[in-house]
Assembly symmetry: C2
Homo-oligomer: 334 residues x 2
DNA sequence: AATTATTACGAAAACGTTTTAGCTCGCATT
DNA sequence: AATGCGAGCTAAAACGTTTTCGTAATAATT
């Protein structure tokens, strides 16, 4: 590439050693006032920037955070978290790199890739947490922060699914609903937490939900949610409100409801989860639980960098980020 | 971090020099059959992976592609391209890094950040192409590939907006529409190309579009498209079909149409652009032009890596990726 | 038998930093 | 006058590679 200024040239220009120059940039105290100034000016005029590779090699700190996820970039929930994570990381001087398994045709483990790139720490989210390769990474000693999953000895950020679900159910209850069906996602931690919230709310509000009202579909899967909706509509005692695993799945369900001649919210109520942009633009506006993706992402970055920069003193922490109910127009009063 | 195997340990274990070990991994021919085997086995057993920083320092090749974009990760168009770009890059042995302006609190130019990270090349997309900092990067000599914009001396990938638009308009024409309104996005290259396609189709099909049928809104902006729709509905001679800048903007328009008591496609027709997942899930299914984001992303990666790896022989190329019409249910026959 | 070509390998420098340990100088303290 | 001390600086090693150039041993050619 084009001739990039190095520490050496600055040293020569200022008539000092490279050590001194380096110290100036790294905030050492044993360098004279005017020398420091001269160095800084020379650096400025030469357009100097430290070479990241050299620095990484020497310090084994790459100022680089790895991100591990499995192909769901297209989901707004993830991409928003990623964006916010990235922003915060940048603010603190870190870049991010995606970690995957095949690099240059060769298959390697996540851990190997991470080591190869010299990531200082890893964000793990939206993956199959039971994958042994993921566990290997999590247990490697590299600083880790995970989202919506707790690993043994590292920090994590959890979207408050329990409370979110409780609030949602409570809202439905207050609007008179007792026959509330819940179409849930796959068997992830998130799902279990939402189920817990669901049941807890039912119990404290003292009403029962028949087993048939709980049906499994998947996340971000309109086809599955459509099928689940059909199943619910065939019941003798139909629910008055259906909860979907996420906003996008709601669309699939909605299609099915309309096909059955039911209007939302006149004939049946519904709610989503996530609070995506879409959910607030469509009409009727969806009642849903907005997850605070911005806070989740930036908190994750903060926790991770804290763990990286204080390897011995830092103690893992579980941060719960609460969401809030977005009242839409898809839940009618009964 | 944990003791990672180096080339030295392998050398010691095999009783050869580090030079030889290095050669084995880099496919040099001047190393004996069995020595090579021994080295490979030792590497395997030690769990060796080359240190990316050291390699980058020595070769000034980081196997790292920079990506420059402006905060629209949440848009499906971009995130799909990014995902596909990333996949192809990985396949060819490259990781990707986001390039931004503030790294560690200090503001730097895109070019500086790129140099600092030692990116071998840059993908530029979804940015303000008139930004001088972007031009500086594009003109720096670093290999560049851009999407939906042509820079002077680098390759680019262009979604075929001209043809896409032409096909769409032709389809509408064939279904009997003559009063076709076009709500367009901001003044980007993409928009101009779509306008060109629009006008070209009108001309070759020999029908005129009054100026009032062309109104500017924005991309991914349901509010603006709603306003534009309202404007169109107030015309004395209403269009029979409205084209939206993208699928998401269509939602905003749709709300407005329904508020006016118009049903799509019974009372008025509409079409989008992009072919997002959503557009094919909602009912009525949206008629739209699917952009081949997968091809765009992977082609961009291929072009970029080609330029990086053949600095002298490679000649810039403009690749046009064609999309295709997705026939939905929002355009009625007249 | 002498020369040349080929094969397999190694020594060492280099990439751009960081960091330790030590040096020099002037000044204050005994 | 001798000692100690802090301030400001440097030499040099090190990080883990790649790559050039050289050399020794063997094989092939005269």
């Amino acid at each position: 590439m084009f001739p990039i200024a190095t520490i050496k040239q600055i040293a020569k220009q200022c008539g000092v050693s490279t050590a001194t120059v380096s110290k100036v940039f790294n905030g050492y105290s044993d360098v004279g006032e005017q020398t420091a100034r001269a160095v800084r000016e020379a650096a400025e005029s030469l357009g100097y920037f430290p070479n990241a590779a050299a620095r990484a090699l020497k310090t084994s700190r790459a100022y680089n955070l790895g991100v591990l996820y499995i192909d769901q970039m297209q989901h707004e929930f993830f991409s928003q978290i990623l964006e916010s994570f990235k922003r915060q990381a940048e603010r603190q001087g870190y870049d991010i790199t995606f970690i995957s398994r095949n690099i240059g045709g060769r298959l390697m483990s996540y851990l190997d890739h991470c080591r190869y790139r010299g990531c200082d720490g890893m964000l793990i989210t939206c993956v199959d947490f039971t994958d042994p390769l993921v566990s290997a990474l999590a247990g490697s000693g590299i600083p880790i922060v995970s989202i919506d999953h707790v690993f043994g000895n590292s920090s994590s950020v959890l979207s408050d699914n329990v409370t979110g679900m409780q609030e949602l159910v409570t809202h439905l209850y207050e609007r008179g609903h007792r026959k509330i069906a819940y179409i849930r996602g796959e068997n992830y931690d998130v799902t279990h937490r939402r189920m817990a919230g669901f049941h807890r709310a039912c119990r404290s509000l003292k009403f029962n939900v028949p087993a048939m009202y709980l049906v499994q579909a998947g996340y971000q899967n309109p086809e599955k949610s459509a099928a689940a909706t059909r199943q619910l509509l065939e019941l003798d005692d139909r629910p008055t409100c259906i909860l979907y695993p996420d906003d996008f799945s709601y669309i699939g369900g909605l299609n099915e409801l309309e096909r059955a001649g039911l209007r939302v919210p006149l004939d049946i109520s519904a709610a989503g989860y996530d609070g995506t942009h879409l959910s607030q633009v469509m009409r009727p506006r969806l009642t849903t639980v907005k997850q605070d993706t911005a806070a989740i992402g930036s908190t994750a970055a903060e926790l991770l960098i804290r763990a990286i920069e204080n390897p011995e003193t830092d103690v893992p922490e579980q941060v719960i980020v609460s969401g809030h109910l977005l009242l839409g127009e898809t839940v009618s009063a009964i």
